[in-house]
Symmetry: C2
Subunit: 217 residues, 2 copies
């Protein structure tokens, strides 16, 4: 059973989706520990409610990002974590953490990367006038939202959408994608080939499509 | 009935999709003229077969891009064209043409813009490791593939995809999207609000999604 460490700074709804999927046995993984840099983060109480170790690692006590990440690596190892999942963790990751878990750190982002990396991805999509957006689970590398893409899901952008309504529509897909991506990693089905990912044993339906709503109305 | 002028340099499969949609009466428009800068382009013979004026406008005879576009505008006006559709037209458009048909020039591009503008969009998507890509019909402005987006459709990227197989999957959606976008323009339903487009009377289903195939297998 693959052991996951989840890093979260905020409310942790993706964390909850992962906790639920593990609890229901729908993915071959278990959450070994949840860590946050924010005291009182909802993510920590979600972990406690699920009976999972909830660790606060406040950054104020560390002289540098490297020192902070070294402590993080130490904690992750103590909990025998195989795979690290970022779920709204609002800190940059240093090479200290990256090299300790090379190709074993996942992140989720509310856009079809490489479109709209960085902050305010949903706002960026609306500003660009996109009619389709979505979310991406990717392997973390040294860049910002640049690592190999494991799974993406697309959703329509509707005329009346605000940042809130579009973000909520995307979030529903995030909660599907993140557990699924973890499951694929746990099954050893994710092969990284340069910037492209190949999923062993995948049997996708090439005929499925999603269009902006005006196409069919 | 809206009158369309189509500019094409190559084989013109999108041209054919538009000719067919007009011939079947499935969109409230008719093709008034097809113009190409390439002698012997398949697009011209497609037009002839459909009984539509097919005009060759070779650029060699014009001293400048502006002079070429001025002649193009003159021809489009002579054929009482309301809407210009670029369908694989491999020349840059100058402000001469843009200003004569402001917000009345459409283009189709094989990506979910603003991702992968310019040449080799399908190759770019594969290189980026995207698991979802698609196509975009947009209003042409002074930039390269930057104008307001009217319609987008998403397709999955599959593990074994080459540039050819992915381009073919996207092309199927292009042939759906382009006639539909023209129909929306002809119905006066496309409202441009800054960079965003709003479609009057749109009733999209916000629950429809498309995921990379690994999500459901």
């Amino acid at each position: 059973m693959m052991r996951i460490g989840i890093l979260a700074s905020g409310s942790g709804s993706n964390l909850q989706a992962i906790l639920d999927a593990c609890a229901h046995g729908s993915i071959p993984a278990q959450v070994a520990a949840v860590m946050s840099n924010v005291a009182g983060a909802r993510a920590l109480s979600r972990a406690e409610e699920a009976g999972v170790p909830a660790l606060l690692l406040a950054h104020g006590a560390y002289p540098s990002r490297d020192a902070y990440d070294a402590e993080m690596v130490s904690l992750l190892r103590r909990h025998q974590v195989d795979l690290v999942c970022l779920a709204g963790f609002m800190r940059l990751i240093t090479p200290v953490l990256l090299s300790a878990f090379q190709n074993r750190i996942l992140n989720i982002h509310p856009s079809l990367l490489p479109a709209y990396p960085g902050m305010h991805a949903v706002r960026q999509a609306l500003k660009a006038g996109a009619r389709v957006s979505g979310c991406t689970v990717h392997i973390v590398d040294e860049g910002t939202d640049t690592g190999p893409i494991v799974i993406q899901a697309a959703v329509p952008v509707l005329d009346g959408d605000t940042e809130e309504t579009l973000a909520a529509r995307i979030l529903v897909q995030e909660h599907r994608c993140y557990p699924r991506a973890i499951s694929l990693m746990a099954q050893g089905r994710v092969e990284i080939d340069g910037r492209r990912v190949r999923i062993k044993g995948s049997s996708g339906d090439p005929t499925r499509t999603l269009s902006s709503p005006e196409l069919s109305d």
